[in-house]
């Protein structure tokens, strides 16, 4: 089962190398696609140095559109969308791929995320993180059969965040099963420029848009 790992990134030179190293450490023949969303730093060069396919948006279109760009180009049997600042744990992709193979009834497998504080962040700045691993609002721990998107469609491009809620909703509506694994697959970096932290108001507005559509679907 071939896995495509899609990394949407804009100006990600600080952390991208760690993400790519974590993919390389899986020891699998993965297809790594880095979607460079209008970066002005050396993101593309870092990605290319790791042998990733680099797709480029000349101007930033946002992480949701970047995910769709990567999805459209992916050739793997299944896909995982990894944030550029996070890391896949060693062996996790193999375990997830094997679980998907062993469970043909599942269209996706979802593992847990564990937050970690990026080393450069101070501990006294008011940022607190979850001490436990969790199933999260996060695509970086979900391996999805690519064919599932033929039913669910791509991510909605009228939002900038919360696409995972939309995706869950569409999976339910399409009768596609998500198998939860008791596995921590992904370490999520918490730092001062996390999208969610700096765009909270906008982020919740996107959530509300998705939830409103979800409620309409229930009627």
């Amino acid at each position: 089962m071939k896995i495509s790992v899609i990394i949407p990134v804009r100006n990600g030179s600080n952390y991208l190398k760690e993400a790519l190293e974590s993919i390389a450490a899986q020891g699998l023949d993965t297809e790594t696609i880095v979607v460079d969303d209008g970066s002005v730093d050396n993101t593309a060069e870092i990605a290319a140095a790791f042998g990733a396919r680099v797709l480029r948006h000349p101007e930033s279109r946002g992480q949701v559109v970047a995910k769709n760009t990567g999805l459209a180009a992916a050739t793997g049997d299944c896909v995982l969308f990894l944030d550029h600042d996070d890391r896949i744990r060693e062996g996790a992709l193999r375990t997830m791929g094997e679980a998907l193979q062993a469970h043909p009834e599942a269209a996706a497998v979802q593992a847990k995320v564990k937050d970690f504080l990026s080393p450069e962040i101070g501990r006294m700045d008011g940022t607190v993180i979850r001490p436990d691993a969790y199933y999260g609002l996060f695509t970086g721990a979900i391996l999805i059969r690519r064919e599932a998107f033929a039913k669910t469609g791509p991510f909605p491009e009228n939002i900038h965040d919360g696409e995972i809620i939309y995706w869950h909703t569409r999976m339910e509506q399409c009768g596609l099963a998500i198998l939860k694994l008791d596995l921590v697959s992904t370490d999520r970096r918490i730092h001062n420029t996390n999208f969610g932290k700096t765009n909270k108001e906008k982020e919740y507005k996107d959530f509300a848009t998705i939830l409103r559509a979800r409620l309409k679907g229930k009627k």
Binding site: V113, L117, V128, H168, K197, K200, E203, L211, L215
Partner: protein
């Protein structure tokens, strides 16, 4: 009597005639019907409960029990901690959506949903002044 949004816990968004409120602390969210949304919007805009009741009673076709229905709705909002009593009273003529009121039989509703609680609660980025259950990772 006036109410304000419980901003420390709740995010509210009104669009397409439907209010969505998300409890950022729990991942529970709430959806209102059209009449409930109209009432909620007027309360947040500064209308008092009395203003809203007066406007509802003046709507064509309003039943005798509309005030009771509004009181129940406000109790629901308070019970969910979506709104809190305002410190300072204010008055503003309420402009209720007559079509929504009629479509919803003059019964404002707010329902609670927990079906994506795990996802919303998991939102890992939190900025707090006081730690309330989440603790800094040990280095």
């Amino acid at each position: 009597m006036n109410y304000i949004l419980n901003e420390s816990e709740m995010f509210a968004d009104i669009n397409e005639g439907t209010a969505i409120v998300i409890n950022s602390q729990t991942g529970i969210y709430y959806g209102m019907n059209g009449f409930g949304t109209s009432v909620f919007e007027n309360l947040l805009a500064g209308s008092s409960v009395e203003d809203v009741v007066a406007a509802a009673k003046s709507l064509s076709g309003a039943p005798a029990g509309v005030e009771t229905a509004l009181e129940a709705f406000l109790q629901t909002l308070s019970g969910f901690r979506i709104v809190l009593p305002a410190d300072a009273p204010s008055s503003r003529p309420a402009e209720l959506d007559a079509a929504a009121a009629a479509a919803d039989a003059f019964t404002p509703e707010c329902k609670e949903y927990r079906d994506v609680q795990e996802l919303l609660y998991a939102d890992p980025i939190h900025e707090v002044e006081e730690e309330t259950g989440w603790t800094p990772e040990k280095s």
